[in-house]
């Protein structure tokens, strides 16, 4: 006991440093030696698996994009965007009508899913009583709907939108409605997560200052949740833009040479055209299919970049 003041009086830092270093060494050794070596290995394996997963995702997407550019290379020019489809002269064929068709359909999807999806999410998160059986039933169904195969929505669209109650016929609007139903669960789920992630103090503070529930939601919660909601919209649009199967059922054609309109006449979309061309025996058409993949990527990035810009603008930390 008598030694202690002696140590400290002689040199103030070394003993403390020694204690700190000794402690750190002990911790480090305990991490690296015998008993806990297993944990260290587990950690390494886990990290390896994470990197493996990431690299698989990156490699497959890089391979796909590279393939599209290489295989479609001979056709990557402005004709691809401005010309109409042609099987008589495939070397000059373009995707103009399909690009417009896709923009019409996806435009309709966005206009439908943003208000409907966000509205449903606000109700379920801010107004609905989670203990209520009906609300829980709705909740469960939305989650299950996200996993329903897209062709089922195509059949639904054919029966209720193209024919039946709505009777829109084989038009772009019917395609929009069908795809909107398909991706609505994605938007609702993502929006709910985003709304839930807004600190309750924001909402409570707003209410405490005399705001109505609606004012708190509209002026505080929604702007704060916007980045997360936009992520959901990006995911939904990315899925919708690539769908071919349900659209074939609700009237997307593979050959149309006139610009589409929303409520009448035939329309085509990029995935249905690519799907059709990729199966043909003619090499020119297969090249055209690969070039179509590039066109679709460009279009998808264009649409999503707007959402990404908005998301970054509204991103904030608490």
């Amino acid at each position: 006991m008598a030694d202690e003041p002696d140590y400290s009086s002689r040199v103030a830092l070394p003993p403390r440093t020694r204690v700190a270093v000794g402690g750190a060494r002990e911790v480090t050794e305990s991490l690296f030696t015998s008993g806990d070596r297993k944990k260290k290995i587990q950690g390494t394996i886990f990290l390896g698996l994470l990197l493996f997963g990431l690299s698989i995702a990156l490699i497959s997407i890089a391979a796909m994009i590279t393939w599209a550019f290489v295989a479609g290379g001979p056709r990557l020019n402005t004709n691809l965007f401005t010309n109409v489809p042609s099987v008589v002269t495939p070397e000059n064929a373009g995707y103009r009508t399909a690009i417009l068709g896709t923009l019409y359909v996806i435009g309709g999807v966005i206009v439908l899913i943003v208000p409907l999806g966000v509205g449903a999410a606000i109700y379920l998160e801010q107004f609905a009583n989670p203990a209520n059986k009906f609300n829980r039933f709705v909740d469960l169904n939305i989650q299950n709907l996200a996993g329903v195969p897209s062709i089922v929505f195509g059949i639904l669209g054919l029966a209720f939108i193209v024919r039946g109650p709505l009777s829109l016929g084989f038009v772009a609007a019917a395609g929009s409605l069908t795809l909107a139903l398909l991706v609505l669960p994605t938007v609702i789920l993502a929006s709910r997560e985003a709304i839930r992630a807004v600190p309750s103090s924001i909402r409570d503070g707003s209410l405490a200052l005399g705001a109505t529930v609606w004012q708190a939601v509209w002026r505080q919660v929604l702007p704060a949740a916007l980045p997360g909601i936009l992520t959901g919209v990006i995911l939904a649009v990315s899925r919708a833009i690539g769908e071919a199967a349900p659209l074939l059922l609700v009237g997307a054609v593979t050959f149309v040479t006139f610009n589409p309109s929303f409520f009448e006449g035939g329309y085509s979309t990029l995935p249905t055209m690519i799907y059709s061309y990729a199966k043909r025996p003619q090499e020119e058409l297969q090249v055209l299919a690969a070039a179509g993949v590039v066109v679709m990527l460009v279009l998808l990035i264009m649409i999503n970049s707007v959402a990404i810009y908005l998301r970054n603008r509204f991103e904030r930390t608490w």
Partner: protein
């Protein structure tokens, strides 16, 4: 700030509208031109046409993805001659197409098989009168690798290979087939389309005697006939069957073998199909036309154009054109349906 936020929020919904407006505007300028038209491939007006530019209307054809590639160039050439008519072609499959056709929603249905009983009933219920118009011929081609020392097979041999429960696994086991001794042990790998394909239905019926009857241990290439060509190119012991168009585009790495249906070996060629001697794998490709649709002059003109220009259209799509006799028969069918 409130306004900005609200505007930005709304902008998400309006994004598409803006993009649309921009794209729509830029492309409208080119709408009336047909950049793809090429004077050398433009169709001469057919004799039965009423003259270019006078016809107006819209025609929607749906159905088989085998016949669709034939109807597309037909539509394209027809619209070059008749800019006032809008023809669209969809491919929701023969069955899906008949469902719409018999509901009166389409003007014609591409079909790689004949209409079935249930579909006939549906058409009857909805008062749709129809007829099958043969628009081209196809030769289902049995493909082998270019290196395989085989040039011809009988229907019996094909049946022995493909029938349900067949135990043939090497080339030497094929009954009565002369192959060099060193090739006899080569494993026989089989490729065929999936069960949803009209090509599958036709082949099983023609070779195995019953639609859908086939051995189960072959590799299904689904709906993508190119996959069969690729597989056979890379495997000397492979065999598969594809529509004529895929054989024509496949090059020398694969070869289409002759079929002996009892009268000697008949090669898969356009002439043999047209002469009707490539049996049993020669087949007609149909477009079903409805009487209702043929009340429109443009639709009648389209079908007549399709039939009369069958050679050029079939050439583009890789199928086999109609003979003069077939043309006369089919024109008569169209006129009968339009008149009745």
């Amino acid at each position: 700030m409130k306004v900005t936020r609200r505007a930005a929020f709304a902008a998400t919904a309006l994004t598409s509208a803006l993009v649309l407006a921009a794209c729509g505007g830029s492309s409208d300028g080119g709408e009336t031109t047909t950049p793809t038209s090429d004077p050398t491939t433009s169709a001469a007006p057919s004799p039965t046409e009423t003259g270019g530019g006078e016809l107006t209307g819209s025609i929607l054809i749906d159905g088989s993805s085998t016949v669709g590639p034939l109807t597309e160039p037909a539509a394209e050439l027809f619209m070059q001659a008749n800019p006032g008519v809008q023809v669209t072609v969809a491919v929701s499959g023969t069955s899906g197409g008949f469902e719409k056709f018999c509901n009166g929603e389409t003007d014609g249905n591409n079909a790689s098989r004949a209409i079935k009983e249930a579909e006939i009933e549906l058409c009857g219920e909805n008062g749709i009168g129809y007829d099958n118009i043969t628009v081209a011929n196809d030769a289902l081609t049995v493909l082998v690798n270019g290196e395989a020392p085989v040039a011809c097979m009988t229907v019996e041999q094909l049946n022995a290979i493909w029938t349900e429960g067949s135990s043939i696994t090497t080339w030497g086991q094929i009954p009565d087939l002369d192959v060099p001794a060193e090739f006899a042990d080569t494993p026989l790998s089989l490729y065929g389309p999936g069960t949803d394909s009209g090509t599958f239905d036709f082949f099983t019926e023609a070779i195995n005697g019953e639609e859908g009857l086939i051995r189960i241990d072959y590799t299904s290439i689904g709906e993508d006939d190119n996959a069969a060509v690729t597989a056979i190119t890379g495997d000397v012991g492979a065999m598969g069957y594809v529509p004529f168009a895929f054989y024509q585009e496949a090059g020398d790495a694969v070869k289409g073998i002759g079929i002996d249906g009892g009268d000697g070996c008949i090669d898969p060629t356009a002439e043999n199909v047209q002469n009707g001697i490539y049996t049993p794998l020669g087949r007609p490709l149909f477009v079903y036309a409805s009487d209702k649709a043929l009340q429109q002059d443009a639709t009648v003109a389209f079908f007549e154009f399709y039939i009369n220009n069958s050679d050029q259209i079939a050439d583009i799509a890789g199928a086999v054109g109609l003979t003069d006799e077939q043309k006369a028969e089919q024109i008569a069918k169209v006129q009968a349906l339009a008149g009745g």
